[in-house]
Every structure is written in structure tokens, then in C-alpha cells.
Amino acid sequence: MGPLIPSNILDPSWNNVIALIVGIAFGFILESSGFSSSRKLAGVFYGYDFVVLKVFFTAAITAAVGLYYFEYVGWINMSLVYINPTYVASTIVGGMIMGLGFIMGGYCPGTSYCAAAIGKIDAIVFSTAMLVGILIFSEFYPLLESFYNSGFLGNVTVYEVLGLPVGWFMIILIVVALGAFYVTSLIQDKIKEVDY
């Protein structure tokens, strides 16, 4: 039956309503799990707090496993699910810029608004600076356009590129995730407790 909007079960005008509800829920859970603290977020780079890695990796594998079981029982049609197009070169450079900003500011875009919403001054500065960055990027877009669109691979998934069946890719991803959780917990134990 799903996805609800591409399968014409819900009208496309519901898009923004659903986005608002999901966004509020996402922000609430981010805040309540402590993601509005820049020190907690930056901990993943300094090795004293890996909760970011654990939360997002767990979310990814749980959602992926759930989606493929949903597909098996016919609740969702994965061929209708939108897959973001991949631009290899710009993704790598963009990821490095984003990572640099993440270390310096202690926020990623979503958590910065989350923290700004509860009145953290550093988050307000961060999200304002992000808007300035977006403005600069937009103004220089004609210069960056060719690079922005380089390395286009289409709407591909990792297992398609690797030529693996979905099931095998998922089990590899789960094992990698669990291994990462274990290793990071070892690192966290070794590092002296940081008060934040």
C-alpha cells in the first residue's frame, strides 16, 4: 500500500502537514536525548561521547530492516520510495565542509535549530551563520554549478552499486554498526570522564 503519497492514498497537499508533525517529533526527541548540547555532539570527535554515532546508526539500520520487512508483507512498495540522487565529488567535499563545521560549532543543521529553540546562544549564532553560508553559496552558485553537479550516479543505493543482494548488504551493515558500537564503547571507557 505505501508509500502513502506516491501511491495516491494521501493527497500530495498532506506533504507539509506530515513534514511538520514529523519535524516536531524529531526535534522533541533530539532535545530530550540531549542532542541540543554542542559538547555532547562534539564528543564523537574527541572520543568521550559516541551517542550521536550510536543513535543515528541505530536509527538507520532499524529503519532499513523495518522497511524491507514491510516490503515483504506488502505494506510498502520500495520501488516508489524516493532515493536521493548521488553526486560523488560534491558529496565528498560537502561532507568534509559539514564535518569541519560540526567540529567547530558543535552542531549539525538539525540540532542547531533544536538548541536554538531552547534559547542556546551558541546555537543561535551557529544557525544564523549557517543561513549566511547558504546565502554565500547561493550567490556563488553559478561558479560552483559544474562542480555541484559532478560525479552524478543517479538515484542509486549502495547495494546496487556493489552488486550485492539487499539481504547480504543489510547483514553486513548491521554487523558493521554493532562492531562500531562495541569499539566506541571501549574507547569511551578508556577516555577519562569529561564533565559537560
Binding site: 532499524t62 520500495m78 547480504w168 543489510m170 554487523v175
Partner: protein, 204 residues
């Protein structure tokens, strides 16, 4: 290490292993309505009686004719090599076995277009591929292949060539002896040069 984490990790691994054994997309082979409409509208699923006749005569092994009329009608007359799959039996296991053979183009036909088109839509929605419909059905087959009518004298050369091809096909399918004429060639034109009777005079 926390016991809950170990249990949750094991559950995830088990679920992941389960995914390996799931068949991909068992329930989602159905074609979306807009795509079906596009395929119906672009008319590429039709095959003309002339094309079909030519493919049968050439012995094309990929042709698989499917007669969707009732068994009683089909018992009276079927095209060579056709398999009778009445509309009611279209989704049975036996029909599926017929319609999923590798490397075949399945061509539905009935007396006209309607039943064959319905069979095409149903089979397409059931996720089958390489399906075609014989345009005009058996009525058109009889008119064009078995009993072709000669074109009017004023029609273009193509009409005469087509008629000759159909006569040949008719002979192939009915065993009738009809004299097949080659298309008329133009009369030879005399190309000998005429000798000039006047001397060349000055020009400009």
C-alpha cells in the same frame, strides 16, 4: 556490558539474517496505473496481421500465440502454434506457466480486439511482460491474410506489393494455389541518342 544491549544486538542480527532469506518484492510486481495507461496509449503493444504472418512464415521461434476465446470457439479454428487460454483461466497456474516462458513474445488474439486487449491488461497487471495484441484479431486475419482483396488500380505501388505479400501468405496458410505475380516493372525506355539534323551554329 549491559545485558539489554546484547539482546537488542542479537535481535537485530537475527532480523538481518532473516532478510537474506526473504524473496525480493513478492507482492509488488503490479504495474502502477499511470504506467499502464502510458503503455496502453502508445499502441506499441499491437502487432499487425501482416507482421504476424511474416514472423510465422519466417519460423520466428519467439512467437507464442495465445487464443483467448472460449475453448469451444478455439476448437473450431486456431492460428498455427497457438495455445488456447480462455479469459476465465488467464490467472491459473497452468496459464502462468505458459505466459512466463523465457524468450517468447506472447500475442493475444480473439475474433476482434476486445477480449485480447482485456487479457493484455489483466496479464500486464499480473506483472507479465512481452505481451502483444493482434490488431483486428481473427476477423482482420481473414480479411487481410486468408482472403486478401486486390487493391484498386489507382492505388500506389506499395498497396500492390502488400497485396502480393498477402497472396503469398494466404498460400502459405491455406495451401491455396494462387499465382503470385511479381510487381510489374516499368517499360524499357529507348535510350539511343538521336542524331542531330542541324549543324551547330554560333552561340553566345
Amino acid at each position: 556490558m549491559n545485558k539489554t544491549y546484547v539482546i537488542l544486538a542479537l535481535v537485530l542480527v537475527l532480523l538481518g539474517i532473516g532478510l537474506i532469506f526473504l524473496k525480493a518484492n513478492p507482492n509488488n510486481t503490479e504495474i502502477p496505473p499511470d504506467k499502464l495507461l502510458n503503455e496502453l496509449n502508445d499502441n506499441t503493444h499491437y502487432i499487425s496481421t501482416d507482421d504476424l504472418a511474416q514472423r510465422i512464415i519466417e519460423g520466428d521461434p519467439s512467437v507464442q500465440l495465445i487464443d483467448v476465446r472460449t475453448a469451444k470457439d478455439a476448437a473450431g479454428f486456431m492460428l498455427p502454434g497457438a495455445i488456447n487460454v480462455p479469459m476465465g483461466d488467464l490467472l491459473t497456474e497452468e496459464s502462468k506457466a505458459v505466459l512466463t516462458q523465457d524468450g517468447k513474445d506472447f500475442i493475444f488474439y480473439c475474433n476482434g480486439d476486445i477480449l485480447a486487449n482485456q487479457a493484455w491488461i489483466i496479464s500486464r497487471r499480473a506483472g507479465l511482460a512481452r505481451l502483444h495484441v493482434l490488431k483486428g484479431g481473427l476477423n482482420c486475419w481473414v480479411e487481410t491474410i486468408l482472403q486478401p482483396k486486390p487493391p484498386a488500380p489507382t492505388e500506389p505501388q506499395e498497396a500492390f506489393d502488400l497485396y502480393q505479400a498477402r497472396l503469398g501468405a494466404s498460400q502459405f496458410f491455406t495451401g491455396a494455389t494462387i499465382e503470385v505475380k511479381k510487381s510489374e516493372t516499368k517499360e524499357n525506355v529507348d535510350l539511343t541518342k538521336k542524331t542531330k539534323t542541324r549543324k551547330v551554329e554560333g552561340g553566345c
